[in-house]
């Protein structure tokens, strides 16, 4: 299967990409690694008239020390996040979640920015960024703005990005002393998570992000509150699905997903030493 015909525009800079988005409006789509978009286009679930390629914006491929955070360029590939020594030591949960995305071939192409901008609740990476309380940077015609990860995901495959905005950077707080766990439940090796859990424990605070438990990447605030008030891992995990509206599909019913969330969060908290 091949995508519907489109016009191809290769952006030479972030500003060029923003200008192209301004010119073509909702007929245009950015393409980074293409590993969410090309599958959709092959099935004709997406058929943009213009494809604006940001894959060559090398100045947005980096991992930098930002003082209290690690700054990662939006076009950084999963592979380069996964093996980066600073990401591993300062926010190891992100390195681990990234290493669980698809397979080697997928991680050689897919980008951190694309994984977030796609707004897919089934993606592993947003759960880690929720647990780590990351911030993202968007750039548009009027300059840059920061968006807290909690404000970024607005609906199924929808984000707070404006039509003419580009995601440029992801800022992940350094938590070298935190303990963490990434739990992914699937049936076959390379599959997406049926449910997944990112768990971070930093002193008496916890961060818990869930995969595939709602129409958006889901923060389990109830578990975080329980941990903050001193609950055991087992007791806190009982609240994992509170407030979530998980989907039902061939892999799992709503009840089964709620059950998985409780089990995975408990395992995660225990593995993180809580």
């Amino acid at each position: 299967m091949i995508p519907a015909a489109f016009d191809y525009v290769r952006a030479g800079s972030a500003d060029e990409a923003i200008a192209a988005l301004g010119e073509y409006g909702d007929e245009a789509k950015l393409i980074a690694g293409g590993h969410s978009l090309i599958p959709l286009m092959r099935f004709r679930l997406a058929a943009p008239a213009y494809l604006v390629d940001i894959g060559r914006l090398d100045d947005l491929k980096y991992v930098r020390d930002g003082g209290d955070h690690i700054a990662i360029g939006a076009l950084t590939r999963h592979r380069d996040v996964e093996i980066n020594a600073d990401v591993q030591s300062q926010c190891g949960l992100l390195a681990k979640a990234t290493s669980e995305v698809g397979d080697n071939q997928v991680r050689h192409r897919g980008t951190l920015g694309g994984a977030i901008a796609h707004g897919d609740p089934a993606s592993d990476i947003p759960s880690a960024l929720l647990a780590l309380r990351a911030t993202v940077v968007a750039k548009g015609p009027n300059g840059e703005r920061e968006i807290a990860i909690d404000d970024f995901f607005t609906g199924f495959l929808e984000t707070a990005l404006e039509e003419t905005e580009l995601l440029t950077e992801i800022r992940v707080p350094k938590v070298p002393d935190a303990t963490w766990s990434f739990q992914k439940f699937n049936r076959r090796a390379q599959d997406w998570a049926i449910v997944g859990a990112s768990v971070l424990v930093n002193g008496d605070q916890a961060g818990v992000g869930l995969v595939n438990m709602d129409s958006v990447p889901f923060r389990s605030s109830a578990v975080e509150a329980a941990i903050a008030s001193g609950a055991s891992a087992a007791d806190a995990a009982e609240a994992a699905a509170e407030g979530a509206s998980p989907p039902a599909d061939l892999n799992a019913s709503v009840e089964y997903r709620q059950h998985l969330a409780r089990v995975l969060v408990r395992r995660g908290l225990e593995e993180a030493g809580r």
Binding site: Y8, G34, I38, P39, R109, A189
Partner: protein, 153 residues
């Protein structure tokens, strides 16, 4: 639009539609049919080639994304009549039956050894999770990759 790709060391230029997938470019424009297509869902890995030295699924890359880049296909591995050590190991370990998955397996496996020169059996299994084989049960494929890695020791 014009797309120039260095395929197996030779620069080629073809006029293709922007929507052309790299795998179709390789098979139809470049005439290299060693790279197979096994699925519609980016799952099987039969289409795996190296893009700038790293394994990618060529059904999930647009030819225009590879413009100006280097691609190696299964045809580019052997040195004349002399098989690449990974091909030799697949041959010796009987790591194929119908052979449909083999070009992709070999390309994924060579890329894996570039990243992990001396992998454990578990690392080989995880490293090849993007490649499906309907015949062998994987056992001899894993054996072949480990044998090829011995040459790296």
């Amino acid at each position: 639009m014009e797309v120039s790709v260095t395929v197996n060391g030779t620069s080629q230029t073809h006029d293709v539609e922007p929507r052309t997938l790299l795998v179709h470019y390789l098979r139809e424009s470049a005439g290299l049919t060693g790279t197979n297509i096994g699925c519609d869902t980016s799952s099987c890995g039969a289409c795996t080639v190296h893009l700038n030295g790293e394994s990618v699924k060529s059904c999930t890359v647009l030819a225009v994304q590879a413009d100006g880049q280097e691609v190696t296909t299964i045809e580019g591995l052997a040195n004349g009549e002399e098989l690449h050590p990974m091909q030799q190991a697949f041959h010796e370990c009987h790591a194929l039956q119908c052979g449909y998955c083999t070009p992709g397996m070999v390309m994924a496996a060579t890329s894996l050894l570039d990243e992990i020169p001396n992998p454990t059996e578990q690392e080989v299994r995880i490293g090849l999770e993007g490649n499906l084989c309907r015949c062998t049960g994987y056992h001899n494929i894993v054996k072949a990759v480990l044998q090829a890695a011995e040459g790296n020791a």
